[in-house]
């Protein structure tokens, strides 16, 4: 049982474990894939949620495994911590990490989520 899945017994019957401390994979598999489907003007294409979920699990696991091994250079590199736009350098390195820990590569699978809805302009 991984550390992040262990029950916080102090939380029994009382206050919630704050969302910041919950396991990201547990959060994502709920907020992406569960909850009511309400027709929004913009929303994630339901058909792509499954692809995105799979890709994210691999990515989250790669990152967790790397951290476990003491590798966390991307958290200290300002160029890599920017979230604006795609980052091919980071993606390439993460791809190599996935290979290193023996995870299947998602090459060829288009794991990019598509967003549907009426165009509300950029």
């Amino acid at each position: 049982m991984s550390q992040s899945e262990r029950l916080d017994l102090q939380g029994l019957g009382g206050s919630a474990a704050p969302a910041g401390t919950q396991n990201l994979a547990d959060i994502l598999e709920r907020v992406l894939d569960k909850g009511i489907v309400i027709a929004g003007d913009i929303q994630i294409n339901l058909l792509d949620i499954e692809l995105l979920t799979i890709k994210l699990r691999l990515l989250v696991a790669s990152v967790d495994k790397a951290r476990e091994m003491g590798i966390d250079w991307w958290e200290h590199d300002p160029a890599l911590s920017s979230s604006a736009g795609r980052n091919p350098a980071l993606e390439e390195r993460l791809g190599r990490l996935e290979e290193a820990v023996g995870l299947p590569s998602d090459e060829g699978a288009n794991g990019r989520a598509n967003v549907e809805g009426r165009d509300v302009g950029t």
Partner: protein, 273 residues
């Protein structure tokens, strides 16, 4: 271009739905997605949507498509989304909306509420005074195999008495297969036991898909992932049941752990009969 389609700087992000009567108390000064943009409500008949404004440059269709594929951005959004829902569920029933359900304006949210409020109200009614808990049972398969093998009552073949190398190999292989069968049977029985025990103290329960075991990680292999909708006044009994299962499972190389409490993400549909 009508007034509400003018290209303003904000779009409206929906977190979930609550009883309109709770709207005032639920929406205190709580931060939404973007800094400085608190959550607020859009009222419909009996049901209210909890929303916050978000910047168009990050949440338009094009921007969202890019940003959802950036893990840090997605992580921040998912945690904000979950944080707001955690806050709401502490005030009363909430119907979580999925991540990134966005509207051009409050009017558009109101239109949806006007159309669907009866369904939403029925679901909210069902979700009073309950919280979701996640439970995972995992197995150390290698250790369980050793335990069963060492118990040495696996019927079959006398390895020590075999006369030739080939016979000994076959005998060993047959024994391994028996042990594997026993391991599978043991895991199935414990999974059924755990789910039945926890379902009995829950209002509703769901078996969720389990993720495949990741090679090279220390995590155990998850053999049951369940979501349990538990009445607030039965949470003590639920966690006592989890602890008791943990004690019983320890000798069988199984572990059980709960996560939560969660808003009722897995229980927005009508319960199965």
């Amino acid at each position: 271009m009508t007034a509400d389609e003018a290209a303003g700087p904000s779009l409206v992000y929906l977190f979930g739905l609550i009883d309109a009567a709770l709207a005032e108390t639920a929406v205190e000064d709580v931060e939404g997605i973007a800094l400085g943009r608190p959550i607020r409500v859009v009222r419909g008949p009996g049901v209210a949507g909890v929303v916050s404004d978000v910047p168009r440059e990050e949440f338009s269709r094009e921007a969202l498509t890019e940003n959802l594929n950036e893990l840090p951005w997605l992580e921040a959004l998912a945690r904000s989304h979950a944080r707001v829902l955690d806050h709401l569920v502490s005030h009363g029933a909430v119907l979580p909306a999925r991540l990134a359900t966005i509207y051009r304006s409050d009017e558009h949210v109101r239109e949806v509420l006007d159309r669907e409020h009866a369904t939403f109200a029925r679901t909210l009614d069902r979700l009073q005074d309950v919280r979701e808990w996640g439970v995972k049972v995992s197995v150390d398969r290698a250790r369980l195999s050793r335990t069963i093998d060492e118990a040495d009552d696996v019927s079959g073949f006398d390895v020590a008495g075999a006369s030739s190398g080939g016979t000994a190999y076959l005998a060993r292989r047959q024994r391994e297969k028996r042990v594997e069968e026993r391991v599978r049977g043991e895991v199935r029985a414990r999974v059924r036991e755990a789910h039945a025990t926890l379902s009995a103290v829950s209002v509703d329960a769901r078996v969720l898909a389990t993720r495949a075991k990741l090679p090279g990680t220390n995590a155990g292999e998850v053999v049951l992932s369940g979501a349990y909708l538990v009445a607030r006044d039965r949470e003590g009994a639920f966690h006592a049941a989890v602890a008791e299962l943990g004690r019983r499972f320890a000798d069988h190389a199984l572990a059980i752990a709960a996560s939560g409490p969660w808003p009722p993400y897995n229980f927005v549909e009508e319960p199965s009969a």
